[in-house]
Symmetry: none
Subunit: 401 residues, 2 copies
Amino acid sequence: MNLDTIKTLSVKTGSKIMLLVMDGCGGLGSPSTGKTELETAKKPNLDQLAKKGVLGLSHPIGRGITPGSGPAHLGLFGYDPLQYLIGRGVLEALGIGFHMTSKNISARANFATMKDGIILDRRAGRIPTDKNIEIVGKLTNAIKEVDGVKIIFKNGKEHRFVVILEGEGLEDGLSETDPQKEGLKPHLVTAINPKAQKAADVLNKLMMKINETLKDEPRANTCLLRGIAKCPHIPSMSEVFKIKPACIANYPMYKGLATLVGMDLLPTGDTIESEFDTLEANFNNYDFFYLHIKKTDSYGEDGNFENKVKIIEEVDKQIPRLTKLGFDVIVVTGDHSTPSVLKGHSWHPNPFVLVSKYLIPDEAETFNERECRKGGLGQFLAVEAMPLMLGHAGKLEKYGA
Amino acid sequence: MNLDTIKTLSVKTGSKIMLLVMDGCGGLGSPSTGKTELETAKKPNLDQLAKKGVLGLSHPIGRGITPGSGPAHLGLFGYDPLQYLIGRGVLEALGIGFHMTSKNISARANFATMKDGIILDRRAGRIPTDKNIEIVGKLTNAIKEVDGVKIIFKNGKEHRFVVILEGEGLEDGLSETDPQKEGLKPHLVTAINPKAQKAADVLNKLMMKINETLKDEPRANTCLLRGIAKCPHIPSMSEVFKIKPACIANYPMYKGLATLVGMDLLPTGDTIESEFDTLEANFNNYDFFYLHIKKTDSYGEDGNFENKVKIIEEVDKQIPRLTKLGFDVIVVTGDHSTPSVLKGHSWHPNPFVLVSKYLIPDEAETFNERECRKGGLGQFLAVEAMPLMLGHAGKLEKYGA
């Protein structure tokens, strides 16, 4: 069901929804025990939710498809990730905490080494982050604007940084400068979309200024621009779903994604416990909470099965605080799976539990991948999670008469 | 997910995929035992795959829809059968082993009996195949071309044959000549698509020549043309999925479908065993194998429950040869169900088993319809089978960041 239709059905009510995302919580069996991280963790409180609620498996994009965090979260927030595309440059900007508006275009940039117009090293020897910060400082001091368009540089790690343009009349639909192979010249930026000509001109002039500024650097004497994009217009959750949503997250990219869909960002601490403190403190002010746990994914990416298990157990200890608050609907799920054995995101569907007064509990005694397979919600696309939550919270009117 | 998006994600790797299609393997319970063909067969090796792997049910087109072999296979090969339409004439040409190019238009033809311009019998009394061969020979000798367009006749069984045009500037979008009822005049071919006028003119002139050639035949003195179509452009599997695919099949139509999607055809013998010989002999040269077993479907169509069971058992004996080869992903499924009790294709979903290192096995002990219902893959569309296989084989990059 598309957003326009959902919008005609959604109504403002007093009910409250909790969406707890344990990033990458789904996994695969450990080679030694055959049990997944969720099957290994001692998590009596999450299991209690499984007993009271109904389980299922959600596919972030489609069967077999491994998602990045951007599209995976957009799906959970109710936006079709195949329709709402977020350029890599935008995600990078979100990732460093830059708030993109319709006046911005953002590019993911790599420092690179060039000689006689030929790219010798597309990553400038992976210069250390300290050096990156120093060079980005130099660029910031030397280049403030091009043709009246403000230029913003933000450092990332090693050779990575972000270039953001701010001005009127900037449209995207722009080619990249990265030749993808060493030994070739960098490309000029070209306007694939004719309306993007101004942005293309600004970026090409900017590249000349960058090259001039960096000409004496031994390694990072140029840069390559990729994923040059504007922030797509995404109708806000309050507009489409008639909710007042809040985000409790530690990491910039998730906060950025949340602002993209119109959530309020609630300041919170670095620990899982502090995120639940923030939830308690703000319970009365919102009717939709997205609380993001990052470390299940981080440890999955590191291949650290044990620590991923510990994070699940740490989250579990906070669950009683959450249930006490009196939500009408609680969902606990992941955005994508991050099996420790794969050390990365995967295509496996997400364990999903929904608790509400208005359901028939299934026979599951625990919250894990195998139980979710047998769950009463079956398997579904993540983009359907939002209507499921809204429906169970009484926030969707009848479709048709 | 559309093919363009899949194409941006797919990558060439060294991993290997096996797609074993037991045509029409799904069935219904025998009236005497209540067990299906798969439930009746002794198939320890297929059951072993079910223990190691994850099961599910795939719907060829959609719930309740009985597919022909063409769309059912296209779906399994990753092409949405509702988007990629193959005209009946093209399927007939593929079925007799004719390799269609962009210069060809093909029509399914029936010999018919006409008197005073009125069709008396739309099937010419179902003349025997020998007679068909004789008349097609007569047409081939008498008619070589029309307006510079080469004309090819190929006999089929009983009253059925195929007419293929070969030349420049032939487009499809053409009406049929079959009036669908006896006692009516045949229609002229008309160009529904204005670009198809040349083909329409050629076909109408051809019909006059055919009628002249056959005027002394007692029964087959004319023919009716249906499903007049060009072969659609289908992007190849190697282009879209970055694989090098091979087809091992005995029957022309399946080989034709495989060439449509760019598979190499591997010469093989008539027996099931010889198909597995071919697989072994070519294992090193490809990274995707489609092996087609026809007789599960044929015996299903005949209503021969026992022999369908025997074919499943015969395939089972070959499975150890397949597993020894060391595929990264093995899928065994059907293209559609062919329950012996229905003596034809049906709308029931296909039993599906996928084996890979990267999955959580389900509790199934055997490979059959009932176990597949409880399987960890749930129920899905056949068009999702290809992304599932590619994903499990590590051949799809992350969608978004």
